[in-house]
């Protein structure tokens, strides 16, 4: 500090005009930002906003426009609008076995399923013509209703529903190389015609809503049901293990044969098994562990992978968040969504118990990853949109995730074939064998604790070399997987290979 007194300097203040120029420039920046965010909503997000099921535009279009049809892969009509006399239209569903995926649309009870998620396309709020939306205001018809063609084949769908008759459960069949859904069944199911019929709608819908949650017919178990997977999850553990390098096809755990008798002690918890009579003192490798569904081997593998890597690899397969799909899906988890509490939880999760909860669609994707030799295609059930003037928009199959090396996937595929066709595997999953076709699969029996019967599971694919179908089957409280889910999976794959030779 100098010795001068520090007085307030009251001189001529700066001129105002230059400051005003800066104010003007700042205002231009602010208004530019506002213009940019408007552009975001009106250009980038416009399509998503317009197709959003909550948009009142849908209600308005519904009242004056006719919906397009929903047809299966071969053009069989699954949903169409028919006139009801007074100039209005109602929806007709010739194949209720496509429920609950298909959904319904009713002026009284709202909408669900594909009828809901593809409302914008069915009503034709967007045009398929290039620039069509830009020039909408110049057209006489504001709407351009589109037909929605599915990859679903109603013949396979009917077979899936027949297999599940009298049971509660779900079946998902997918084409591994494209991610196209071939069948997606969930039972018990409902008749959409009775919902949209004004004469029966109110009583029928009230009855559907009245049922307890576990017996609900409106719930799509295939996409929204979250089940303990049991041993079918070992395929996912094998993917995570090989992919992360924690295990190799040759990995053996020398203590495993001894632990078969005593149980494998993890932090005071004993992992137990039931196959030591068959394998005896032989230390199993990956193929052997999948063939006989060895809990102890997979518990070791899970601990070697470690919680963080297991979750990361789970995410690559689609676990942890809702799957991108054409109808809403629930998220599958390996850890209950809250991380692995301790090694006990991790070891048990590695063979599909503790807090693993999966949707049948997710397990079909796990089978499809192995079937397509490491590539996970984005699952989809809508193949094409077609407008009345003949314009077509095809949904091109796309790779969602490259999960695994082809060679590593091949190892798992052959192990799964061994689980169906091998000397020891036959005892568990042999019933899935498609006659004359190399078949791969994995059975599961998900223990639920208490007095409840376990869930029966099967995932698999065929033919092993060039798979044309991958399936996931769950029968709620169906007992041992080998008894119910496994033969159903085999029969469905056989049906498809016959239908589409």
């Amino acid at each position: 500090m100098s010795g001068l007194p520090d007085l307030p300097a009251v001189g001529a203040p700066p001129r105002i005009a230059p400051a005003l120029l800066r104010v003007a420039l700042s205002l231009i920046v602010v208004y530019g930002a506002i213009g940019a965010s408007l552009s975001w909503w009106q250009v980038v997000e416009a399509e998503r906003l317009t197709s959003d099921p909550g948009n009142p535009l849908l209600v308005a279009a519904e009242s004056e426009g006719r919906r397009g049809r929903i047809v299966d892969a071969r053009g069989v009509v699954l949903a169409e609008s028919v006139p009801v006399g007074d100039g209005s239209w109602t929806r007709r569903y010739p194949h209720p076995e496509a429920e609950p995926l298909l959904g319904y649309v009713s002026p009284d009870f709202g909408s669900a399923g594909l009828e809901r998620s593809f409302s914008a396309e069915l009503l034709g709020l967007r045009s398929l013509a290039p620039g069509g939306d830009l020039l909408r205001k110049l057209r006489r018809d504001a709407y351009d209703p589109q037909d929605v063609q599915l990859s679903l084949d109603v013949r396979l769908q009917r077979a899936a529903v027949a297999l599940l008759r009298g049971k509660r459960g779900a079946i998902v069949a997918i084409e591994p190389a494209s991610g196209r859904i071939l069948a997606l069944a969930s039972t018990p199911t409902f008749d959409p015609n009775r919902i949209v019929d004004p004469a029966t709608g109110a009583a029928y819908f009230a009855d559907l809503l009245d049922r307890p949650a576990e017996a609900s017919a409106l719930l799509d178990r295939a996409t929204m049901g979250r089940y303990t997977p049991g041993s079918v999850l070992k395929v996912a553990t094998a993917v995570a293990g090989l992919g992360s390098g924690a295990i190799t096809p040759q990995t053996i755990y020398p203590d495993q044969p001894a632990e078969e008798r005593t149980g494998f002690l993890v932090q005071g918890f004993r992992v137990r098994d039931g196959h030591h009579l068959q394998t005896g003192r032989r230390a199993l490798d990956l193929t052997g562990a999948i063939e006989v569904s060895c809990n102890i081997w997979f518990a070791h593998a899970g601990l070697d992978i470690g919680g963080r890597r297991f979750l990361a690899w789970g995410e690559r397969m689609g676990f942890g968040e809702a799957l991108p799909f054409d109808v809403p899906t629930a998220a599958s988890t390996l850890d209950g969504g809250d991380g692995f509490l301790d090694d006990v939880e991790l070891a048990n999760a590695a063979y599909g118990q503790s807090e693993t909860f999966v949707t049948p669609l997710q397990m079909a994707l796990v089978a499809a990853i192995v079937a397509d030799r490491g590539t996970l295609m984005r699952p989809h059930v809508v193949d094409e949109l077609r407008s009345a003037d003949g314009r077509v928009q095809t949904i091109v199959p796309e790779v969602w995730r490259q999960v695994l090396d082809a060679g590593q996937a091949e190892t798992i595929a052959l192990a799964m074939q061994q689980a169906v066709e091998g000397r020891l595997g036959r005892r568990f999953a042999g019933a899935a064998k498609v006659p004359g076709v190399p078949t791969a699969g994995k059975s599961g029996t998900a223990e639920l604790g208490g007095e409840r019967e376990p869930h029966a599971w099967f995932i698999g694919f065929a033919p092993v070399e060039a798979p044309r179908i991958a399936v996931a089957v769950i029968v709620e409280n169906g007992g041992a997987g080998s008894a119910s889910a496994v033969p159903m999976g085999g029969e469905l794959m056989a049906t498809w290979l016959k239908l589409a030779p």
């Binding site: 307030p8 400051a19 005003l20 003007a24 205002l27 408007l38 997000e45 906003l49 308005a60």
Partner: protein, 477 residues
């Protein structure tokens, strides 16, 4: 009226050629919109009932004629810009359900559009009268503390007797007349700030005083900033009027910076804003609610986020070129698709029917308004006028930015009107006065400003509030 006659004698009428041309363009555009709207509604080419349109065009023409006859030498772009905004407003009010607002005048029952046209008429009258009759600004600058006192009194009245509208205590009712005083308040605010800052610029721009080991800003500078901050907080807490609080505070900080041009002032303003925002967020659920809706409106699309989500849908439906006037979706099944579509969300309705193209044009109109207003400010003959013109410009364009940015989910939504466009008498009247103020300040014939320090003791003493404040000022400095 004697003032008007004198002026005419002095300079005589003057044809405002550019204004006439631009107003012709405005008339053409609004007429096109009118025909487009009527044809969409009728389903065939139609003029509809052009009574309201003709009345509106007549009002614009009258305002132009009065300015010309009075020989105004002021800016010729401001009126057409405001006129275009008002015309768009009229089109939208004609297009919306008329039952949104209904008022009885004896046997006469008026709906949304005729009422809005009346307010537009009031607004244009106010603008013209202020522009023509305000010949000297002496009374504005002399009584600044009186204006401040009036503003605070008005604010306290609203705090005490205000009625709630949509959860905010905004409306003051005196007999049959109801209004939103915050609109009037913003004029009082800029008049006071212009006077205060112009008088104290030198002191404020000067160095900080040292008080022992502390370096403090001069107290007269610190106090008004804290006072403004407190007033803004009080408006949020008591009135729940986030929009007005944000507007007042933002205009204050910008004007303060224009006066002192010290970055520290700007930083201090922003810092106080952040502190205030954090405190409000922490302790007041209605503020927290607004922020949460802003972060994820779709999470509560059927509840708290309903309005903003519906607004975003409207933006999406509009797309680039819009649905066309009358072809949008203001209502479904007898319900409005966006609540408050005629006030807070009028911009979304316009952006739906006119598209992004129209929306950007509306934004551009406010930018032009800003440019013309700030030009008047920088050409002003003294600091008071410069600050007053800048403040008047800012209260309009910052207000527009606050509500449109809220509509577009750039910032949390705060209920405030879109100047010249939203339905409402208080808003149109206040913005009309602001427009008149700008036109008057831009008029080269405005009486020369008094030399600095010429505002003598006599005016000070007449300004009762100023006498007290002046004494306080002297004590502090």
């Amino acid at each position: 009226m004697t003032g008007l006659a004198e002026t005419a004698d002095r300079r005589g009428p003057r044809f405002r050629r550019r204004e006439a041309l631009l107003l012709g363009g405005v008339a053409g555009a609004i007429t096109c919109g009118w025909v487009s709207l009527a044809s969409t509604v009728a389903g065939q080419p139609s003029m509809g009932d052009p009574l309201l349109l003709l009345a509106f065009l007549g009002m614009l023409g009258a305002a132009h004629a009065v300015l010309s006859l009075a020989g105004s030498r002021s800016d010729e772009v401001l009126l057409p810009v405001a006129g275009l905004l008002m015309g768009l407003s009229l089109l939208m009010m004609v297009r919306l359900p008329q039952g949104l607002v209904v008022q009885d005048f004896g046997p006469l029952e008026l709906g949304l559009a005729p009422l809005q046209l009346i307010w537009i008429g009031v607004s244009l009258t106010a603008a013209t009268v202020v522009a023509v009759a305000l010949r000297s600004d002496l009374w504005l600058r002399s009584y600044k503390y009186t204006w401040a006192a009036a503003g605070i009194a008005l604010l306290l009245l609203v705090f005490a007797f205000g009625e709630e509208t949509n959860g905010a205590r905004l409306t003051l009712r005196v007999g049959p007349v109801a209004g939103q005083p915050s609109e009037l308040l913003k004029i009082l605010l800029v008049v006071f700030l212009a006077g205060y800052l112009a008088d104290n610029r030198a002191l404020l721009a000067g160095r900080a005083t040292r008080l022992g080991p502390l370096r403090l800003p001069p107290l007269p500078y610190l106090l008004p900033m804290l006072a403004m901050w407190g007033i803004a907080l009080a408006i949020v807490v008591v009135q729940r009027d986030l929009g007005a609080a944000l507007l007042f505070y933002a205009v204050f900080v910008v004007l303060l910076w224009v006066a002192t041009q010290r970055l520290g002032d700007l930083a201090m303003g922003v810092l106080l804003f952040v502190v205030g925002a954090v405190v409000l967020y922490a302790f007041f659920p209605h503020v927290r609610g607004r922020v949460e809706i802003w972060l994820d409106p779709f999470a509560t699309a059927q509840g708290a986020g309903f309005q903003i989500v519906r607004g975003l849908y409207a933006l999406g439906r509009g797309g680039v070129l819009g649905t066309g006037l009358g072809a949008g979706l203001p209502g479904v099944d007898g319900h409005l698709s966006i609540p408050a579509v005629h006030t807070d969300f009028v911009f979304d309705a316009l952006a739906e029917e006119l598209g992004l193209a129209g929306a950007l044009v509306i934004l551009a109109l406010y930018v032009v308004l800003a440019q013309r207003g700030l030009r008047i400010a920088s050409a002003a003959r003294d600091d008071f006028r410069a600050l007053l013109a800048a403040g008047a410009t800012l209260v309009v364009v910052v207000q527009a930015a606050i509500i449109v940015a809220g509509d577009a989910r750039l910032i949390p939504l705060t209920g405030i009107t879109l100047p010249f466009v939203s339905y409402g008498g208080s808003s149109l009247l206040a913005n009309g006065i602001v427009l008149g103020l700008l036109l008057s300040l831009g008029d080269t014939r405005l009486a020369a400003p008094p030399p600095p320090q010429a505002i003598g003791r006599r005016e000070r003493l007449r300004d009762a509030a100023g006498a007290v404040a002046g004494r306080a000022e002297r004590v502090i400095s």
